[in-house]
Symmetry: C2
Subunit: 456 residues, 2 copies
């Protein structure tokens, strides 16, 4: 296929462009990076035009813009594929744990290290280059293409669902494809058919009106950090089960058939422990590690702070303590309901000696995708062609709430065509993207579009 | 008395000097303030010379210097008083809660606001001005005087005990006096006869080798913050009692006589709650608030941090979590033993899913001073003369470990001649010193020295 030949010949050029993309610190959660987020959007629009899209624009939202492009040259009888990605990235901290600067993309062997390399700039860009490969060879892609690339994924996509609802006609399509997940191994392609949802809250516990001397007041004023620790500790029982009343009420128990399928996902416990560095695994004893991390709900403190945190000793009884707490959710939990449940529970268990405020930071719905659709079959064939091996099905532990939004608003299913690897250090120092996956990702996308354009 | 008249006439000048002293950010725990600590020592030496001391010098230690001065003109038959104070201060953070800059001393009504105003620069300086008042009037003070002013009190005085042991002959005296505590009210002088000790540790809990994505690993990797919260929560039972095995073994129970004496300390619960801002009091139900804060051991988290602590949401499963934990100790607890007990206990209760490291930051011994000595009687008379009211006896909740060192190494008792007030915001934003107490403090010191110099 000419498009494939072109993509192979252009690898060096594609990599050079990706490096430029990765060097833009488009951290969506930090106000000081607002210009970089806007800069990344503009750069991406220019690349879409250069790739052949006749139309591409930066569309404003309440916060960070959406980059939209379309190329509808395949005609009314051809299907329309909606490609989603996000050009924003997580904050790079803790900075001192990066071996190379997070926004100076660095090649080490076959990997490119940079914040956003795998999540999601590198994966998103593979699709842009696939379309370009058709443009530069056969002129137009074999199906109609629409792209929606957002800049708020890492802050919970507050503007995305409203944008999709507002532009449902513009975005009308037959199937969506998202590359924002990983495959099981370099030579082991896989397709994620389930994702967890998310509810994220921030808690403030306050006791005294201001910091106090722990010698003068210690023993008779409840320390907000101690109080918050006790509240957080009580959120799990000794089996790692979450104690918030009602939390499990809507959880759909895994059927034996699905547990059997998930048990076929290759899992190397020793390698997993090595990867995490944890002394041993943890969690609900009745579920496997794969199930606990993909098909069971969880609760994690993502950040906590209070009192004196500089070097040395300070004998302070702090006025406040804070924690960011997120829960991964599974079918059929309702993120809004879970947020309400934890907020009410935290207030209910707070002792009378402190005050508690809970702020609901964001929420995302879980998703389950059919494994037997024509789109899924095309995706399987595309992986098989590019990787030389049929993909296996798995569930993902992370959250891509837009999958639920596409289902609800546009009425379409999403193919999660991941090109990352499990050790890409997403949301952590030393994030990387495996370059052979970048190139095979471009080829997988070419095969996918080609197959959708030639129904058999 | 001429010295008193002089001190009253010089108030404006004394205040101007105190402002200069307070403007030096001599934060002993922060490396960047090392030059300021040294600067404060040099300034203080110059002031001692200016106050009449024939000898005053800055003496190096392993870390921050000691300022030593002596004036032995009263002859061998007169007693020698050793005045201790500290010229270092706590860090000023959280900075944004200060109404005026911490190192720009600001007068508001009768109060001077600055870090170190009451703890301990203002109180220390009252003694220097008392000596100067004798010098400028009758020529020499009525007793022999030695001053030892250290720069490490707020970091646990690591060099002080070795310094005192090394210079035990230089420091030989009949009694020590320290003004680093408070009286009960502006018109309610009191003398602290007991102090709590301290054991301060820092804990690190680590799980994964680095930060992980909470979606990909959450549910099967134990979150170090959650684990640390559970460990900290378990350190108290539901009655506010500390659960570390052996913690109370050496605690001397309060005798009914002493409980009766402590119950005579005026205590206004409503005012105390107003002062702290806490919704209600907390702690061991079998003890009064006064007892809990002065005569019972406690455990407080002074600082805690881990994960993402910036604005916004980040779904990270952090690699480590940290806490600074201090315990106030009472007779006859041994700080070194308590440090060992908590270190061993934290390691014992840590689940196998995480790793724990405990660092012993510092320790200080509690102290109990006799209430019937000639020195204590002279102090009572001095307060009565300066404040117009006999002081009451109380115990203090804070730690002044040097009192135990003076007892052990020099064989002398210490009079805790406090001039602060309970609402001085020590170790907290908006620290202040009540200026009438500064002036009455100088007068109390003059009366005390005068009385010791004229035995009846």
């Amino acid at each position: 296929m000419e498009a494939l030949d072109y993509a192979r010949a252009q690898r060096e050029q594609f990599l050079a462009e990706l490096r430029t993309f990765l060097s833009i610190p488009s951290v969506s959660t930090q106000a000081q990076h607002q210009p970089d987020v806007v800069g990344a959007a503009g750069w991406l629009r220019d690349q879409l035009l250069a790739a052949g899209f006749p139309e591409a624009q930066v569309m404003p939202t309440q916060k960070h813009p959406v980059v939209y492009a379309e190329w509808l040259a395949a005609g009314r009888t051809a299907p329309t594929v909606l490609i989603y990605g996000h050009y924003d990235v997580q904050p790079p901290d803790p900075l001192d744990e990066w071996r190379t600067p997070p926004f100076e993309p660095t090649l080490v062997g076959d990997d490119i290290f940079a914040r956003g390399a795998a999540d999601d700039k590198g994966q998103l860009y593979a699709h842009v280059k696939a379309v370009q490969s058709f443009h530069q060879t056969v002129g137009t892609p074999p199906v109609n293409i629409k792209c929606i690339f957002e800049g708020e994924e890492e802050i919970g996509s507050p503007s995305l669902a409203p944008f999709i609802r507002e532009h449902r006609e513009l975005l009308a399509a037959d199937v969506a494809v998202i590359s924002d997940s990983h495959i099981l191994g370099k030579e082991l392609p896989s397709i994620v058919y389930g994702l967890r949802g998310l509810a994220y809250v921030e808690v403030e516990v306050s006791g005294p009106a201001h910091d106090l001397h722990s010698g003068i007041y210690g023993g008779a004023v409840h320390n907000p950090i101690n109080a918050l620790c006790a509240m957080i500790a009580s959120l799990h029982d000794e089996h790692g089960r979450i104690t918030i009343p009602g939390f499990y009420d809507r959880v759909r128990e895994l059927e034996p058939e699905e547990r059997a399928e998930l048990s076929r996902v290759p899992f190397d416990r020793a390698a997993w422990l090595e990867q995490t560095g944890a002394p041993t695994d943890w969690g609900e004893p009745d579920y496997t590690i794969v199930e606990r991390t993909t098909a069971r709900p969880t609760l994690d403190v993502n950040g906590m702070w209070g009192g004196y945190v500089e070097p040395g000793a300070k004998t302070v009884l702090p006025g406040t303590a804070h924690a960011k707490i997120s829960m991964r959710l599974v079918p059929d939990q309702d993120p809004a309901e879970i947020s309400r449940l934890i907020s009410a529970h935290l207030k209910a268990i707070a002792p009378a000696t402190v005050r508690v405020e809970v702020q609901e930071l964001h929420q995302g719905k879980w998703a389950i995708v059919r494994r037997d659709s024509v789109w899924m079959q095309a995706a399987c064939k595309a992986y098989a062609a590019a990787f030389g091996r049929e993909p296996v099905f798995e569930r993902g532990g992370g959250s891509i709430p837009v999958v639920a939004t596409f289902q609800d608003v546009l009425g379409i299913e999403t193919i999660l065509m991941g090109f990352g690897l499990p050790d890409d250090n997403l949301h952590a120092p030393n994030e990387k993207f495996h370059l052979p996956n970048f190139y095979r990702g471009i080829e997988t996308a070419i095969h996918f579009l080609e197959r959708l354009g030639s129904p058999t």
